[in-house]
């Protein structure tokens, strides 16, 4: 193996992998949302009446989009695993990557349980996944159990596997996430008290905090 470039930055497989990961997340979310929309669309249809041409086209579009997103997700996973097998990496880095994949799988399991456990059922609007809509008891208990057992174990093992560069990026992301949380929740709370804004939505604050955290973490790691 030879040193590949003189400008200090070699062709960056991690950046293309990062793009693949974003593609995987996008196609997986697309598949989940479109599958939910397909089920909702067809279950809302009265079976005693034939589907109109426009309805048939919409239904086929939703199902086709679901299949397309699933295909893209599978193709991306195969591509990532192929390049990961050929790349030279330290054992701890490989362990960290395995744990990242495990946490992504855990996230997918959580999303599926939430999707099935919504009181409106699997046919609920896709964005209901991120709403305060009621959740069935068994789903909430399963999600809390998963979050309190698997997540801390994966996080603990991941922190033991990562190197100092990644830890710095992660910590800086967490700091920016905390600032985002403080600004957003305080200003929203003040605005709501004055009647200028609706009451604070915990899920929205959670999502913004984690988005800022994740964006800074990835930027510091792969810039």
């Amino acid at each position: 193996m030879t040193a590949q470039a003189d400008d200090g930055i070699e062709a960056n497989p991690a950046r293309s992998r990062l793009a693949s990961v974003f593609g995987l997340v996008g196609s997986s979310l697309g598949a989940i949302f479109l599958a939910g929309a397909s089920v909702g669309f067809f279950s809302a249809h009265d079976p005693s009446r034939p589907l109109s041409t426009a309805g048939l086209l919409v239904g086929m579009g939703l199902v086709g989009g679901t299949v397309l997103c699933l295909g893209l997700a599978v193709r991306t996973v195969l591509g990532i695993s192929r390049s990961a097998r050929t790349e030279i990496v330290a054992p701890s880095v490989r362990k960290g990557r395995t744990l990242t994949v495990l946490s992504a799988l855990l996230g997918a399991v959580i999303a599926v349980i939430m999707l099935i456990g919504q009181s409106q059922g699997i046919g609920a609007p896709p964005l209901a996944l991120f709403s305060d809509a009621p959740l069935q008891g068994w789903a909430a208990i399963a999600l809390i159990a998963l979050t309190c057992t698997a997540l801390p174990w994966i996080t603990w093992a991941w922190h033991r596997a990562i190197d100092e560069h990644e830890l710095d990026a992660y910590r800086e992301g967490a700091l920016y996430g905390l600032y985002a949380y403080s600004l957003l929740s305080f200003c929203w709370w003040l605005g709501a008290r004055a009647g200028l804004l609706p009451s604070v939505n915990g899920v929205a604050v959670f999502m913004v905090t984690y988005t800022v955290w994740g964006a800074v973490w990835l930027w510091k790691r792969y810039r």
Partner: protein, 65 residues
């Protein structure tokens, strides 16, 4: 902080990935150190120095160039 990591690596004909494996860090960490975006901790600086059989001062320089 300035450093000679890229030069030392090139002298041995190692890729960033190979150096990263020898140091038990990620390739991104090696890239970040070489480009001055990340200053290594003292333990990692010692590992780098031992790998190249040099002192830390012979690899890293905290004076502005």
């Amino acid at each position: 902080m300035n450093n000679r990591l890229k030069v030392l690596r090139a002298e041995r004909n190692w890729s960033q990935a190979e150096l990263a494996m020898r140091l038990d860090v990620s390739r991104q960490a090696v890239n970040a150190i070489e480009t001055g975006k990340h200053d290594p901790s003292l333990p990692l600086a010692f590992r780098i120095a031992r790998l190249f059989a040099l002192s830390i001062e012979e690899i890293f320089d905290d004076r502005a160039s």
